[in-house]
């Protein structure tokens, strides 16, 4: 697809693809965003959750009498209350069950135990301290590697007959074929690596306001949901409420990153609270509650192996994973894939065979596992293979760029079916890596590094160590084809509705929901591209289930691949209808018309034509239309994507490491992304910037670790570190453009690419600097220094 000049609107915006400022920013920059904690309603009550201080304990008793006696407390809800409503335990997105409030025992520090509803949030918090819970402490399962030990404490004693902490075994690929490939290899490198538990930490924590109108039976829930339609259906199924009486509304969301896909106890408790009190009930968690109880990400203990010939041709890759899912299996992913899309771990290379095996276990930690822009665990997959390739390069003393260039899939191999069954839609990998190397000045960087190493070997220790790290990633986004992908039985197709009003202004209704991605702008540009209506004349409506078509929401970089496809197709349907209307007005056959720049015009007589705005008015006018053609200019569509889209990219990270202190400075970061044509390059670049910062954070500082008692050691932003501008270099971006052959616009999702692709580049760079084969993230100064001593530590446990 070639980039063509697009016309400019009166507002100075491209009528189609191109750079434009985000439509939503004028509002956000003036503090006019409307987030959950901005909600206020007459008579609104405030809820607060009492949480478990310990990781594993029987609840012997709960005394709420003092809290109930607090003059401003309206109700106190416990697990026992919920049991009477049949809501103490609810299904998770992975067909497990999870406690809304603990009944029999608590299973992680921070678990919800009771809910206080009071006249104001201060009183609600004060009353929490008046609840007396008697715990009988149990030994916790903290180390996932010990979860399956004989005699390990059984966490899920609520499950009939459960005698261990095993959740699932899952595998992909051909084990025998993989063994055969390994058998003939000259070189096999194996490596244990941990992708530690991290937390997405959006700026806004989770919250909800619920109102049950007892007169109408209407339940309205305003909440921080990345999937409002899915939430509505789940509430209907779980609570037995009539779905037509449930309205889920999501206003502005201050970041989601997959953290806000699931339904949290707080949402259910706000609903129950409103049912009990008859008033609107607000619940908004604080930062510590958010960090300790909501969806974490990763926590994959991986043992990977890679095999190659002595010439450096990679033959196969295999991996065993121990997956820590916490105390409830609450990961959000398509039903068929208990390990998400991890089996895309073959990455961007050409192999004979591959095999993976994943074992999921319960531990006394918060549930979750698929979040933080991970594309359903492609983060873990890319980290694994990109680290393994570097380990192989290190073993064989081959330049890691050269090894990658030698083994990358070639353009003529696409569409390419991977050894584990994925069909990559399009790719042209070599030029993308070469472009990154060109921007970086790769050869000059290696020369600089050699110079430094020589000077250091000669005794000059004045310069820091220098590292150059690469990663090449293939993403798989836009879940997904409904025959393969559903969540709790809900197929992952997205609806869209487009209404063009008589004056030619349009409303596009979407099932997905922006959490900062700029949907108001991107989707208006899609309609502009297809219909020639200026983007400022297109209002994008999302987040209200009463006012938008059904769809599965925004996560997994799926909005543009799925809802974007729906938006393009619905706009084309409207365009086709406009053609019929224009033909009626011009008294010609639709076949005599051609589409040009927002206008149907007569072939060979371009002076004669009607703009889309004129056609909009005609559609609503007294103009006589052909038989069977209804008036108005509206359309609907449900887009069921035929495949995922597979964006890819090549990243290079240059670091300076102080060997005396272990401090890492990211000097440069080059990111060449290929996500097909870019609807709004500015928004794409912004998403890449954010993802790169995520990657620096994960590689260098982020981890939720636990001590031996199961205490969460990352429960505040003093303990769980997010990167700041001080840790981020000025990102150097590049692009190549390989359209998706099956997407209506040729575009691929990009929201998570940089989060998926950047951590291994940073880690590879640091390890290249200190010339150590492997050390686990996060590479804090302490971990780098310890790795240099040959003694890296477990980053998921308390440092001792």
């Amino acid at each position: 697809m070639t980039v063509t000049e697009v016309p400019t609107s009166a507002g100075g915006n491209p009528i189609g693809f191109g750079r434009m400022l985000r439509k939503e920013d004028a509002r956000f920059l003036r503090g006019q965003g409307h987030y959950i904690d901005d909600m206020d309603m007459p008579g609104m009550l405030h809820g607060a959750i009492l949480r478990s201080p310990v990781a594993h304990a029987y609840i012997k008793s709960i005394d709420t009498s003092a809290a109930e006696a607090h003059p401003k407390v309206k109700a106190v809800i416990t697990g026992a209350t919920l049991e009477t409503l049949g809501l103490a335990w609810v299904p998770t997105l992975s067909y497990d069950t999870a406690a809304v409030l603990a009944t029999d025992k608590v299973r992680f520090q921070g678990q919800e135990v009771a809910f206080v509803i009071a006249e104001d949030k201060y009183s609600a918090r004060d009353a929490l301290e008046l609840i007396d819970v008697e715990y009988e402490i149990l030994p916790p399962v903290v180390d996932a590697k010990k979860a399956l030990d004989p005699g390990a404490p059984v966490i899920r004693t609520d499950k009939e007959g459960k005698t261990d902490n095993h959740i699932f075994d899952w595998e992909a690929g051909d084990e025998a074929k993989c063994d055969a490939a390994f058998a003939k290899a000259d070189v096999i490198v194996s490596q244990d690596m941990l992708y530690p538990r991290v937390h997405p930490s959006p700026m806004e924590t989770c919250g909800a306001v619920a109102l049950m109108d007892k007169v109408t039976g209407q339940l309205t829930i305003w909440c921080t949901s990345q999937a409002p339609h899915a939430h509505r259906t789940i509430y209907a199924l779980v609570a037995g409420l009539p779905e037509q009486k449930i309205r889920v509304v999501t206003n502005d969301i201050g970041g989601g990153f997959g953290n806000k896909v699931g339904i949290y106890s707080g949402y259910v408790l706000a609903i129950v609270g409103s049912i009990v009190t008859g008033k609107p009930v607000k619940w908004v968690e604080d930062r510590s509650e958010h960090l300790m109880s909501t969806a974490f990400a990763r926590d994959y203990h991986m043992h990977g192996e890679i095999a190659a010939t002595k010439e450096g041709k990679i033959l196969g890759v295999r991996v065993n994973v121990l997956a820590d899912h916490g105390c409830f299996n609450g990961t959000a992913q398509p039903t068929k894939f208990p390990a998400g899309f991890f089996h895309i771990f073959t990455g961007s290379y050409d192999y004979e065979a591959a095999h993976c095996k994943v074992t999921g276990v319960y531990t006394n930690k918060a549930p979750g596992g698929v979040a933080y822009a991970c594309s359903f665990r492609i983060t873990e997959a890319v980290y694994l293979v990109e680290r393994l390739v570097d380990c192989l390069a290190d073993e064989m003393k081959i330049d890691p760029a050269q090894l990658r260039l030698q083994n990358l899939l070639r353009a003529e191999q696409f569409p390419y079916t991977t050894p584990t069954g994925w069909e990559y839609d399009s790719g042209n990998y070599g030029p993308t890596l070469l472009e990154a190397m060109r921007i970086a000045g790769y050869d000059e960087l290696r020369a600089e590094q050699r110079g430094r190493r020589e000077r250091r070997a000669a005794g000059d220790t004045s310069e820091p160590l220098m590292g150059i790290g690469l990663s090449f990633f293939t993403e798989g986004v836009g879940a997904g084809p409904r025959k393969h992908m559903d969540i709790l039985g809900l197929g992952m197709a997205d609806g869209a509705e487009l209404r063009v009003h008589p004056t030619g202004k349009a409303q596009l209704r979407l099932s997905c929901i922006s959490q900062g991605q700029g949907h108001q702008t991107t989707f208006a540009q899609i309609v502009a591209q297809e219909l020639g209506i200026p983007p400022e004349d297109v209002e994008v409506i999302q987040g209200d289930t009463d006012n938008t078509p059904f769809g599965l929401g925004t996560y997994g970089s799926r909005s543009t691949p799925v809802s974007g496809g729906a938006a393009a197709i619905v706009a084309r349907r409207v365009r086709d209808k406009a053609r019929v209307v224009a033909a009626a007005a011009l008294e010609c056959s639709p076949d005599d018309l051609e589409w040009k720049l927002g206008r149907w015009q007569v072939k060979g007589d371009p002076e004669k034509g009607k703009t889309i705005q004129e056609i909009a008015m005609l559609s609503h006018s007294s103009l006589e239309l052909p038989d069977g053609v209804e008036g108005h200019l509206d359309g609907t569509c449900v887009y069921n994507p035929p495949n995922l889209t597979y964006p890819f990219g090549a990243y290079i990270c240059v670091t300076d490491v102080d060997p005396g202190t272990g401090e890492v400075k990211v000097r440069r970061f080059i990111a060449v992304d290929d996500c097909g044509p870019r609807i709004n390059p500015m928004i794409v670049e912004g998403q890449v910037h954010g993802g790169l910062a995520d990657g620096v954070g994960m590689a260098l500082m982020q981890v939720i670790a636990f001590d031996e008692e199961g205490n969460n050691l990352g429960g505040s932003f003093m303990d769980y570190l997010l990167p700041t501008s001080m840790e981020c270099p000025s990102w150097e971006l590049g692009e190549t453009i390989t359209p998706s052959p099956h997407h209506p616009l040729g575009v691929k999702g990009v929201g998570e690419s940089a989060t998926v692709g950047s951590p291994p580049a940073v880690v590879n760079s640091v390890l290249d600097a200190i010339q150590v084969r492997h050390a686990d993230m996060p590479l804090t100064p302490a971990q780098v220094w310890r790795a240099m001593q040959g003694n890296p530590f477990r980053t998921d446990l308390a440092i001792t």
Binding site: K121, E663, G714, S716, L721, T780, P781, W785, R786, I799
Partner: protein, 289 residues
């Protein structure tokens, strides 16, 4: 948001008023200066003062030279000390330490006196003042008294401040032919120190006539390393002497392992950072940058 338990609030209009309020309200009252330690602890319900006495209106923000000393008002904001030309003229350590204390938002509000009184075992200025041999001025209804910085901190979150007392000023002696430096390692900009070392070195005729070595976050008593200082005084500022003193500083440290790093690493940092700070301070004393 995090929500504190109930408390009463008073706003002091003078130092004497603040002292009177402290006397009247008793031990469950706390002074609030910048509030960047106390308020988060209240929101986390780790601190539960019944009364807050706000001293932000008091005229205690200044950095000036008087009587051969630099006098720093207790309510001087971190940013004011960071930007003080008077402080920078005599001691580079002030700017170097302040630049890595928290972030600009905290530095705009947090105070020098508040930092010392919080007595966090990882606090930066405590090490700086200990290294520089500063004196802390306290006032109560009984009058004024001074306490050496090295006797001010009695342990983690514990100071020599008595009930009814308020820190009003910190005094730092001005020294000739002196260089100073601060070296800190943190996991991320704005984080507390994993370890840090701050030093001054005074030179006289090619020998070290006086020096001070302050350490934070590594479990040394009173944020200082006197044995390392003793080893340097009267010695030539050579690399061998620096290395030996840095080792003594590490020997004096007793760090605990936590998520910032294991004890062996922190002890290593006590050594490495002390050596680096000494080299830089000596270069400055010798007239380098």
């Amino acid at each position: 948001m995090q929500i504190p338990p109930p408390f009463e609030y008073e706003r002091a209009t003078s130092i004497d008023h603040a002292i009177a309020l402290l006397d009247r309200l008793g031990p469950e009252a706390r002074l609030v200066a910048g509030g960047h330690s106390l308020l988060p602890m209240m929101k986390l319900r780790l601190a539960r003062p019944e009364h807050l006495i706000d001293i932000n209106d008091l005229d205690m923000a200044y950095v000036r030279v008087e009587g051969g000393e630099i006098r720093i008002g207790a309510m001087t904001r971190h940013r004011e000390l960071l930007e003080s030309a008077v402080a920078a003229e005599h001691y580079a350590i002030f700017g170097e330490a302040e630049r890595v204390i928290a972030d600009p938002i905290v530095r705009n509000r947090g105070t020098v006196g508040g930092s010392l009184c919080q007595a966090d075992p990882s606090e930066d200025l405590s090490a700086v003042m200990s290294a520089l041999g500063a004196t802390v001025v306290l006032r109560s209804k009984n009058g004024e008294r001074t306490v050496a910085a090295r006797e001010f901190h009695l342990g983690p979150y514990e100071t020599a401040v008595q009930p009814g007392e308020i820190v009003t000023e910190i005094r730092v002696p001005i020294r000739n032919r002196t260089g100073s430096a601060y070296q800190k390692v943190e996991r991320r900009a704005g984080d507390w120190a994993i370890a840090a070392s701050g030093v001054f070195v005074s030179l006289d005729a090619g020998t070290i006539s006086d020096c001070g070595i302050g350490l934070t976050a590594v479990g040394v008593e009173h944020f200082c390393a006197p044995a390392a200082e003793d080893a340097l005084r009267g010695q030539a500022p050579t690399e061998a002497n620096i290395v030996a003193a840095a080792q003594l500083a590490a020997d004096a440290s007793n760090p605990s392992s936590d998520q910032r790093g294991p004890a062996d690493y922190k002890r290593h940092l006590a050594n490495e950072l002390t050596a680096r700070a000494l080299r830089r301070a000596i270069a400055r004393a010798q007239g380098g940058s």
